[in-house]
Amino acid sequence: MNQLDFDDVQGLARFGFGSMRQACFYLVRIKDVAVARAWLLAAHVTTARTLDPPPSTALQIGFTVDGLKALGVPSEVINGFAPEFVAGMTEESRSRRLGDIGRNHPSCWRWGGPDRIPHLAIMMYGKEDQMAQCEAEFKGPLGDVAFEVTERLTTSDLDDVEPFGFRDGLSQPVVDWEEKRKISGDQLVYSNVVSLGEFLLGYSNEYNEYTDRPLLDPASRGAADLLAALDQPYKKDLGRNGTYLVIRQLEQDVRAFWRYMDHAANSNPEQRARLAEAMLGRQLNGTPLMPLQNNPIDGVGKDDDDRAYNQFLYNSDPDGVRCPLGAHARRANPRNADFPNPVKGPISHLLQTLGFGHKGIRDELMSATRFHRLLRRGREYGPGLSPEDALKPEPENEEKRGLQFICLNGNISRQFEFVQGAWMNTTKFDGLSEESDPLLGNREAVQGCPISNTFSQPRENALRERRNHLPQFVTVRGGAYFFLPSLRALKYFATVGS
């Protein structure tokens, strides 16, 4: 058992605050730094401790690198954070990897683009009748003086269905809070339990190592109250119990999505839904396209629902006949272990390590999943729209809808950016060559490849079904990398520069 102090961890790392159906995220810039510091010190940030009764509201605070600078955090401290956090989401080479080109380019964003980078994300959650009070409290006597609001990200409660109409949030990694998971060498079977260090800095990760974060001299200003680093006890760990928060506003063109499906299915409602489900990799109600397996999976099965939604792998479907190789859910979490084929004993292990015994043509095209997991905490926004209504003519000035994509991870480049770049956005995922993610893809041209906007459904003993000319269904409207500090680090940020 480690010494994890849940009172030092912001609650979002442990909970999705699912019972609080309302949420609203203020992206703000600091106007008056002294008042902002006072506001931060007075803020009642919700922690990861379980309370009885559970709270009915929650407040979480994340900081961009610009925010830390505005608060006067010393630059040598800031430079101890992850390079991608320091450089920001909109660095040009990063935009290429994340697919933020064309219509997704940061210069077109509502927020997060050049000159529109917020300092803080102030995230409020509450039950139905609580939100107005939360927002009033935020603004209060200090808030209006301290901050200038860059963007108010609203959310809506669509009953756990995302705007295209799919049941959402069914699959999450199980965080090994108590650090019981022992990692030594290769992991030969897929596990849904992931090391604490993948989601919280200051603890060991899937490599049994500590991810880099700012470690301070105990004598440096403000460091005295921070916790010691577990791997270097003579240093104070500013990262410990904190994590990185990725926010991206993804606008979903629900009408274009269902129009495409309807057209491709010759307006047959059944066919239309089947095609959408093939693209997502699950049925609309969340049922996986793969059959459930009998063998339990480590970290799956906390209840019957979880088993029904998650007790499956893709091993038995190497060609993607049941669930297309390029389906959204399959790209996001390929559910593979460290080796593509079963390892039977030490000799087989050695031979496979040396690269012998490849069986399928796609062997080794994909990385092991366990290094690339995300805790998803997204919320929908805009009005719901059923597939049937989506096909009706669009009213004038319709309200936009989509997902406030939010995820937490300890290593942005290895987790969020890898999943987004090497799995979702690439047209070369798992040996495919003509398609990026059917939902998220930007369909931008790839030099040397004549086609980048199809979707393929492999079929047994037949030519694959290829859907052509997929339009772009999702457009990035904003985004930024934040650090979600521990409560101790939050206090440090609020005081170190004063």
Binding site: Y207, G355, E364, S367, F371, L463
Partner: protein, 427 residues
């Protein structure tokens, strides 16, 4: 690889000149005025860069030895089909003037020199060379890619013909279509050439010679092994790790030229640890790796890694330093993922003999598995590849493999339905 010392006062000028060869940062324009790479038909990849070692002070930091002021070099290398002498002649014919302009920045180049001879004199042959699919030529790559694009287009646009029937019937229809395209001279499929006889003989001799030599030396190796292990462990525990976080500016310069294509380039350099023990361990292991890349890892996978097109390990400065160059599919983060999670042992045995490498256990273990240190180490040793040319942009190793499989499947007279179904799944 041509390696020649540069006039250090003019490296900035050289960098500006070669930058004019690019259409995007670091990405060569195939038709550029200086070296129109696109006109060299057998050329897969090429690069021009300045070998300016960022880590020359490490030997002082780690071992207290004086810094060795090795020259700053110009490096020019290409991965091409066929004979190196033919290739040099072709290059001079296509880009003699441009080469002369670039080489004129080297201290020992005088205008009017015989370019071919000069390049021969500065040739650094790789200690080890890896090729994803030995013998696959640019001609084959181009023809097979054209074939597959035409075939796919036809099959998907004439759905009814290819949507019904048994897999073998569909394959035969495809075969008939391709035959017709070839007859109409809309497609060319040059029969694949066997490797030259001389190459095959020397390869066979190498295949036999190395194990025989090893067998002969085995008793001595075994006798020496305990001493070797003691020497190794002593050093492994003591050798300092130098893997600080690389500067943001260095990383920005490297990232700026990455991910303009589905394939990327990688160049890194560093110094071998001082002392005879590390020198000979390094030389021996790299020689063994060469044997595996020559005879074992010749089809798609370097051990477990399918993403590398070409890689080479080149000694410079009397084997005191090493340059590593590769061309790989995906972004650096996925390349690192392959390194760390799939072939850490292979990297460890070679690169742990380099100054500052993350600490290994028994030569093969740990090392690269120290993810953060390893990533910093790699980035810090990496050099910006000023100009990089890819002769088959947009095509991954898997694409090239699939294209070849589609073609060879078409060549067959008949298949069972099960075989034909597998073939059909490639389309």
């Amino acid at each position: 690889m041509v390696v020649a010392p540069l006039d250090v006062n003019r490296t900035g000028e050289l960098r500006s000149l070669v930058a004019t060869m690019n259409s995007a940062p670091g990405t060569a324009n195939p038709d550029n005025d200086i070296i129109p790479f696109g006109r060299l038909e057998g050329l897969h990849f090429a690069r021009v860069l300045v070998l300016e070692d960022q880590t020359l002070d490490d030997v002082t930091a780690a071992y207290g030895l004086p810094r060795q002021n090795f020259p700053t070099y110009l490096a020019f290398l290409g991965d091409f089909d066929g004979d190196v002498d033919d290739f040099r002649r072709q290059m001079v014919a296509v880009a003699g003037k441009g080469l002369e302009r670039i080489f004129s920045f080297c201290v020992d180049f005088t205008p009017g020199t015989d370019l071919i001879r000069w390049m021969q004199q500065h040739e650094h042959r790789p200690a080890t060379m890896y090729v994803n699919w030995v013998g696959r030529s640019m001609q084959q790559i181009r023809e097979e890619n054209a074939l597959c694009q035409v075939l796919q287009k036809h099959m998907f646009e004439n759905g009814s013909e290819f949507q019904k029937g048994s897999p073998e019937e569909i394959r035969r229809a495809a075969k008939a279509f391709v035959q017709q395209e070839v007859n109409m001279r809309r497609l060319t499929l040059t029969p694949l050439k066997k490797a030259p006889l001389g190459w095959r003989i020397s390869n066979l001799l190498n295949l036999i010679f190395v194990p025989v030599l090893l067998l002969f030396l085995a008793p001595w190796f075994l006798l020496y092994l305990p001493i070797f292990l003691i020497q190794l462990r002593r050093r492994e525990k003591r050798d300092p790790v130098i893997a600080p976080r690389p500067s943001a500016e260095h990383v920005r310069r490297l990232a700026e030229i990455e991910d303009h294509d589905v394939t990327n380039q990688f160049t890194a350099m560093g110094s071998v640890k001082p002392g005879l023990f590390r020198r000979w361990t390094f030389i021996t292991l790299l020689w063994l790796v060469e044997y595996t890349t020559r005879h074992i890892y010749t089809r798609r996978y370097l051990a477990r890694v399918p993403s590398i097109h070409f890689a080479r390990w080149v000694y410079i400065d009397d084997k005191k330093r090493l340059v590593f160059c590769s061309n790989y599919d995906g972004s650096l983060e996925s390349y690192m993922d392959d390194f760390i999670n799939k072939v850490a042992f292979g990297l460890n045995v070679v690169f742990s003999n380099g100054i500052g490498y993350p600490r290994t256990n028994w030569l093969a273990f740990k090392g690269a598995k120290n993810e953060q240190q390893f990533k910093y180490y790699i980035r810090r040793h990496q050099l910006p590849t000023e100009v990089w040319y890819n002769g088959h942009r947009g095509l991954t190793n898997f694409d090239l493999f699939r294209n070849s499989q589609i073609r060879s499947g078409l060549d067959q007279q008949s298949m069972t339905n099960a075989e034909a179904a597998q073939w059909l799944a490639l389309i």
